[in-house]
């Protein structure tokens, strides 16, 4: 397959070489990290802003409304106005709150979602680090976010926040299992945990097609459990507006609230991009084995577009969930995980292992 026009490997290596030739190795690493950090920060903020806008528009269309339409073309600058407002707003100090943890909590949530982005490949050669245990790293890092939520709930000195945080804790501990197991199903199929190798492995067909029914089941389970992990949709028990006002971030205001708000969308983006990478081929264009002409046309669409298209499609599916389903109750959420998803997942892994063993996948 020829991806040479969209291959960023040599470009990245050139930059890397340039720094290491002109600086000492220590300073070269520092400069590289700073540049990557800045690029990701800007990307992070832009994606979060875009997703908030998308959510407002999507939910408006689902609810027979227009959505933001006053500030700027199609109301796009509404977000920027909102963001400026949140930045300038007073952060209300909470009486008897644990000040240090209260201030720390939003940053932990942000850092967790920020770190997870490092491993995701956006195009060939376009990723911050290509760890050979990429999936393990992402699972480990993304589950750190719950610490922030727990801290926020605990330190706010608010009963609603505490209930919300406890719900979130119980939920994430359970759903981590399903996320992990459904990814393991694909690891069995791909034989690697490295994201770039997983994507390369899907050059002749995405894993969701390659792995037959077990891959499809794993994809559905991943979608459900990652929605729960991102505290979204029918699983937004930690926030539960109609029950707990705003759950764990009831007491947060101003920029700290903005951080939590942004993280909700970034987590959604991250889980969607993992799902897109692992199940739907990431930046890999859609290929049909044998149809060279068709495949060639598909290759001309840049991988970055493929990646974003798949990711935003999954994001849209998650928004669709959220605006059509009522919320589950906490015991139902846990029942769903422990009694249904987990056993299905374990059997599914067995099936997948069997398929791989027999060489039935293509």
């Amino acid at each position: 397959m020829d991806f040479s026009i969209y291959d960023f490997t040599s470009f990245n290596q050139g930059i890397d070489k340039f720094f290491f030739e002109n600086l000492t190795p220590f300073w070269a690493t520092v400069v590289e990290m700073t540049i990557i950090g800045l690029v990701f920060l800007i990307f992070y903020a832009l994606v979060a802003l875009f997703l908030i806008y998308a959510e407002r528009k999507v939910c408006a269309f689902m609810q027979n409304r227009v959505g933001p339409n006053r500030v700027g073309p199609y109301g796009f600058f509404q977000l920027i106005a909102d963001f400026i407002k949140l930045m300038l707003k007073e952060v209300i100090p909470i009486k008897n709150a644990d000040k240090f943890l209260f201030n720390l909590a939003p940053f932990i949530v942000v850092i967790a979602s920020f770190m997870a982005m490092a491993a995701i490949p956006f195009a060939k050669g376009l990723h911050a680090v290509d760890l050979d245990i990429g999936i393990l790293y992402v699972i480990a890092v993304s589950s750190m976010g719950v610490i922030g939520i727990l801290l926020a709930g605990w330190s706010s000195n608010n009963k609603y926040s505490l209930i919300g945080a406890m719900r979130s804790g119980a939920m994430i501990v359970s759903y981590e299992l399903s996320v992990g197991l459904s990814l393991i199903t694909i690891i069995i199929l791909s034989g690697t945990m490295q994201f770039s190798a997983i994507v390369e492995g899907q050059a002749n067909g995405w894993f969701i097609f390659k792995g037959h029914i077990p891959a499809l089941i794993a994809f559905v389970i991943f979608l459900i459990s990652s929605t729960a992990e991102a505290n979204r949709g029918p699983f937004d028990l930690a926030e539960a507006e109609s029950e707990l006002t705003a759950g764990f971030h009831t007491e947060y205001s101003g920029i700290k609230f903005a951080l939590f708000y942004m993280c909700e969308y970034m987590n959604m983006f991250i889980v969607s991009s993992i799902a897109a990478t692992v199940f739907l081929g990431g930046w890999m264009p859609f290929h049909i084995g044998g149809c060279d002409g068709f495949n060639h046309i598909m290759d001309f669409i840049p991988p970055f577009i493929w990646y974003l298209g798949k990711t935003f499609f999954l994001v849209w599916v998650m928004m669709w969930f959220k605006w059509t389903f009522p919320r589950l109750r906490i015991d139902q959420v846990l029942t769903l995980e422990w009694k249904y998803l987990l056993p299905i997942n374990l059997v599914n892994i067995l099936f997948m292992a069997f398929i791989v063993l027999m060489g039935w996948h293509f």
Partner: protein
Amino acid sequence: MKEVINPPVRNIEDEEYHINIGPQHPSTHGVLRMVVSIQGETVKSLKPHCGYIHRGIEKMCEKDTYQQIIHLTDRMDYLSAHINNHVVCLLVERALEVAVPERVQYIRTIVDELTRIASHQLWWGCFGMDMGGQTCLLYGMRDREKIMDIFEESFGSRLLHSYYTPGGLMGDIHPNFQKRVKEFITYFRKKIHDYDNILTGNVIMQERTKGVGILTKEEAIDYGVTGPIGRASGFSCDVRKYHPYGVYDKVDFKEILGTQGDTFSRYMMRMHEMRESMKILEQLIDNIPAGDYSAKMKAVIKLPAGEYYQRVEAARGELGVYVVSDGNKTPYRMKFRSSSFSNLSALDHMSRGFKIADLIAIGGSLDYVIPDIDR
């Protein structure tokens, strides 16, 4: 040597953890405060605190004439404002033995049923929102708007109409009224399917409401629970059937009774009621007789000395008004038996042992209007 005193044994089962739901809370639908004693997520007991929007309507009635009282009743259960007006009008008309023109009775019945549908539409939206499906609210509001438009055209206002007067109506209906009501019925027959598709048939919704907040028939009677909530428990209590007013004795409609008495059957009761109301509307809308829109009434209404009680079926249950008159133009004492207040009293019993999320769902299915509780 220091004496060691054993600290008292703390039993976590005995300790109470209270949370205040309200007065400002998205799901209390107003300024109701509930002090909920919880254990983990489970509700142990609940104490509603009323009075945050008490305006002393009953006391104010004592120095108002009967025509003025109509305007106060709008402010009680603002979602069934017409039906509230109706109860006072009926009471005055019965006390004075006024023969109300047939046309007035038809129009009142039609408008009452439209009000009931509008109220249930808003309830459906709010219930969906309490369950976490926020799209429902916008759907309910969208369809309620059609009725509000009909009201606005005929009565000149959208929420607090004060359209009924003792003896008749403020004015005649708009020429478009019948056409628009018929349009609404065809429109809403289609839309109510959407309601079923988005919420009734949803597996999450059914799982969350079936078997939750059960109220048996005996308990419903004990607590004085009426309306759709009482009927969901199997308590046949439709005032329209037992003490017909307006032209309810001339129309064919069913009083649907539930058997389960849980949140889901309360939900289904209202969905059925919307369909029954549309059936009533269809029977009446083409048959409004010609005639005056009001009977001849004296300018100053004085009820003969005595006690009077009148009841109607409001959207939330039985609405009663009790008047003691000493023969003056103002009542000596006026008391409203509001359905929301009685219905709320059963909330503690219904929600014990269920989760906080269930409490919100049960509260949503009770459909209380706070100004109706406090008055």
